[in-house]
């Protein structure tokens, strides 16, 4: 996607946003549903924009600081556009003990992004998670809905190249 079309896509998404929020808020106009509403917005758009949160605050008659405060408290919410394929490296106890940090370092190195970031081509974003409950298969990485068990730094490279063939050329170029 070119930069221009990305921008266009974004602005049309923003118009949609307002509608989505209207619908959400219309159905359950109560502060107790704040987290629900934020979850639903994120599940549709991938992240919470400032615009979204202001809109939610207005509709629920809350201060925007309260909405922001709740959203930033929970690990689930993100505030920048996600990549197409979210990469989550598990750093639960079992994964940590079997080299999860080395795996995380390897992913960050391969994608050239830091934890919480999105790759330049918006293909991948990277986050660490506390535990996804697959401790017996440690260390574990999830990419989208797929779970990759027993990861190692060399395996990270293989998997990422498989998922994004264009990075093969990059890899060769850099190597």
């Amino acid at each position: 996607m070119t930069k221009q079309s990305l921008e266009q896509g974004e602005s049309s998404l923003n118009q949609e946003n307002v509608e989505i929020i209207d619908i959400l808020v219309e159905s359950r106009r109560h502060a107790r549903h704040l987290i629900d509403i934020l979850q639903e917005i994120q599940s549709r758009e991938g992240y919470l924009s400032n615009q979204d949160m202001l809109e939610v605050a207005k509709s629920l008659k809350m201060s925007s600081a309260t909405v922001w405060g709740v959203a930033t408290f929970y690990n689930q919410f993100r505030f920048s556009p996600p990549g197409k394929k979210p990469v989550r490296v598990c750093l639960g106890t079992a994964c940590h003990l079997s080299g999860g940090q080395l795996v995380l370092d390897a992913v960050a190195r391969e994608l050239k992004i830091e934890v919480g970031g999105t790759s330049e081509d918006r293909e991948f974003d990277l986050d660490r998670v506390a535990c996804i409950g697959c401790c017996a298969l440690a260390p574990v990485v999830t990419i989208g809905k797929d779970v990759y068990p027993r990861m190692t730094p060399p395996r990270v490279e293989e998997v990422l190249v498989e998922l994004n063939p264009s990075s093969i050329q990059k890899g060769l170029g850099a190597g």
Binding site: C134, Y148, T152
Partner: protein
């Protein structure tokens, strides 16, 4: 429909499934099974049995707890053995279907064992020793009874507890619970009967029950497995709780990170409603009850009951001062009962079989079973359920199968970030609420991580402190700032910058945090530090005094080194794998790691072929021979 009719219908359906002409194939598709590839296996088996309609049927089931054997497939053949196959791949599907579904060859070379039990008895594999030490109460249906079909659960005795409870006065249920001695399985071990009684006494028209499925402890996955494998048991317990205390609304608070558990719960709730076991006038008893799922947005502190209530109310998940207890003033100010998933799942059986039955399992002060998630350096990782009072040694060596690849046992961490690390010397400690507390650990939610000589205890303490630091909600100063300071002290120690004085300060700070925090999470956050200081002080001292990490884990104190006598000059694996281009060849073609460039990612050690096994880790770094530290003749920085 009366319960008798519901049960008869379920048995008919169950009977036609299991005792009829049909061969039944069960594929374990809980999250752990899926991670090991069970969805591809399911698809392959479905493909293979096309044309066998009316003769064979595939069902998705949960997890038997044998995570290291996943994907698991069970074939139930009428009039023949029920066989369990392990580490199944899609490529094995044709062989299994051809062999045991179409033909009579049970493919023993792929089998783990036969399956015994089922129906009202707990399922087990008699050929495996690890089942001998277990007594499966919560896990009785897991991996056998389908979580997607309520009839399986009912035919195995499910909802009989509820039917019975609805005929009892709430007072009778409470006295049955009292007799059972059940203690809350969320970690603290508070008496369940006392909690229920308090809620039941509270005078209010509106009351709530919350099932706490916010399993945030890294290294614990029992609640997930239960919800994915046997959700009806939890729902049944939740309904009984509502009836007993006089609530009309129940909530299940599940982590959003458990999408499959949420999906299976939704299906289970719908099926229960369709059967008339939820909703208006349940089983014509006049009792009405609704259950709603609330998806947690991810905060470790939400596991604390007052924080959990704040999260359901749509606020920041901050713990509150108790009293008033939630049992008096909880969700929206109304009396609220908060129970863990496992606690609720025991209830139907206690009602069905009586409190005395439950009290007969385990120890006097901690009756019943304990459910563990075994992970770490063990042969058999997965779930295990043993009577309370079983020793840690039995758990590690008999159920866990001992250390992987014959490694040396070093420590067992029990209770997650609020728990402690116990050394070899304490392996005979019986597992119950009180003995573990005495040893400095806690029962917690039951996550057990076993560590070997390759795990550094300082690094482990640092890991848990890092977790507590990030997950601290920020309400109490001691926890918010104290955990940050503890982390930076531990970080200094792992970098070789510690002093003996720092160790003393660390101990002092840890004790202050224990004193000064409001909720259990803050009060127990220093446990990993305190127990490692108590039992593994020598390891801290090695870091501080000798710059030596005995497990060779701490990056700053460890160097990767290639043994020239083992390295083979024709092999280039490490050179190609190194992301930092730090490996070079010396004049003889043998590889050397340039210590200045090495980022200590460990890739060279992983790729070095087993026949050479030339890459080792050295600590302290001064052990690397001086002539093999950097590439000779290259300036440290290239000129501009």
């Amino acid at each position: 429909m009366t319960f008798g009719e519901i049960e008869r219908l379920a048995r008919q359906n169950w009977g036609s499934l299991y005792n009829g002409e049909i061969t039944h194939i069960l594929v374990g598709t809980a999250t752990c099974g899926r991670a090991a590839g069970s969805m591809a296996v399911l698809e392959a088996i479905r493909r293979e049995i096309t044309g066998l309609e009316g003769k064979a049927r595939v069902s998705e089931v949960g997890c038997m707890g044998l995570c290291s054997c996943e994907p698991l497939v069970v074939i139930i053949k009428p009039g023949d053995f029920t066989v369990c196959y392990h580490n199944v791949t899609p490529q094995m599907a044709p062989q299994l279907v051809e062999g045991y579904v179409r033909g009579d060859d049970p493919c023993l070379e792929l089998a783990l064992g036969t399956v015994a039990g089922g129906g009202e008895e707990a399922v087990y594999i008699p050929e495996l020793d690890l089942f001998k030490y277990q007594s499966r109460v919560l896990l009785r249906n897991c991996g056998y009874s389908s979580p997607l079909e309520i009839d399986h659960y009912i035919a195995g005795g499910g909802y009989r507890g509820l039917a019975r409870a609805l005929e009892m006065k709430p007072g009778r249920i409470l006295s049955e619970l009292e007799k059972s001695g059940l203690r809350g399985r969320g970690g603290a071990g508070f008496s369940t009967a006392a909690k229920w009684a308090m809620c039941s006494r509270a005078k209010s028209k509106t009351k709530y029950v919350i099932c706490n499925a916010d399993e945030g402890d890294p290294g614990a996955f029992m609640d997930r497995v239960l919800l994915e494998s046997d959700p009806q048991a939890v729902i049944e317990g939740l309904i009984i709780a509502g009836y007993t205390i006089g609530a009309k609304q129940g909530y299940i608070y599940v982590r959003e990170e458990y999408p499959l558990a949420i999906q299976r719960l939704e299906i289970a709730l719908r099926q229960a409603s369709e059967k008339g076991l939820l909703g208006r006038d349940i089983l014509k008893s006049g009792f009405s009850y609704k259950v709603e799922i609330v998806k947690g947005a991810g905060a470790f502190v939400s596991g604390e009951e007052t924080a959990l209530i704040a999260a359901i109310e749509g606020r920041r998940s901050w713990p509150e001062q108790r009293p008033p207890y939630p049992a008096e003033a909880g969700l929206w100010g109304q009396p609220t009962l908060v129970n863990n998933v496992k606690t609720l799942a025991y209830v139907p059986l206690i009602i069905q079989k009586g409190g005395g039955w439950f009290a007969g399992i385990g120890t006097r002060n901690s009756p019943g079973t304990a459910l563990f998630a075994l992970a770490g350096k063990l042969e058999n990782t997965g779930l295990a359920e043993a009577p309370m009072g079983t020793s840690l040694r039995t758990l590690v060596y008999d159920i866990g199968g001992g250390m992987k690849r014959g490694r040396q046992f070093k420590a067992v961490q029990i209770g997650g970030p609020s728990g402690g690390c116990l050394p070899e010397g304490l392996l005979d400690t019986p597992i119950d609420f009180d003995s573990l507390k005495e040893a400095g650990a806690i029962m917690g939610s039951g996550g057990v991580i076993v560590m070997d000589e390759d795990n550094c205890m300082v690094d482990t303490a640092k890991f848990f402190t890092d977790f507590s630091r990030q997950e601290s909600c920020g309400k109490c100063t001691q926890c918010r700032i104290g955990t940050c300071h503890m982390f930076s002290m531990l970080d200094d120690i792992t970098k070789g910058q510690g002093t003996l004085k720092l160790l003393e300060a660390l101990q002092e700070l840890a004790e202050d945090i224990k004193e000064g925090s409001l909720c259990g999470l803050g009060r127990m956050a220093p446990n990993p530090v305190l127990t490692t200081l108590r039992y593994f002080c020598g390891e801290y001292e090695a870091h501080v005094l000798e710059q030596h990490c005995p497990a060779r884990v701490c990056k700053e104190l460890t160097a990767y080194y290639i043994l020239p006598e083992k390295c083979y000059k024709g092999c280039d694996h490490c050179v190609l794998a190194c992301p930092a281009e730090a490996v070079f060849s010396d004049e003889q073609g043998l590889k050397v790691v340039d210590q200045g460039k090495c980022t200590k990612c460990g890739s060279c050690e992983l790729v070095c072929p087993a026949e050479y096994n030339a890459v080792i880790r050295l600590s302290p770094v001064s052990l690397v021979p001086e002539n093999r530290r950097t590439k000779p003749g290259t300036p440290s920085k290239e000129p501009e």
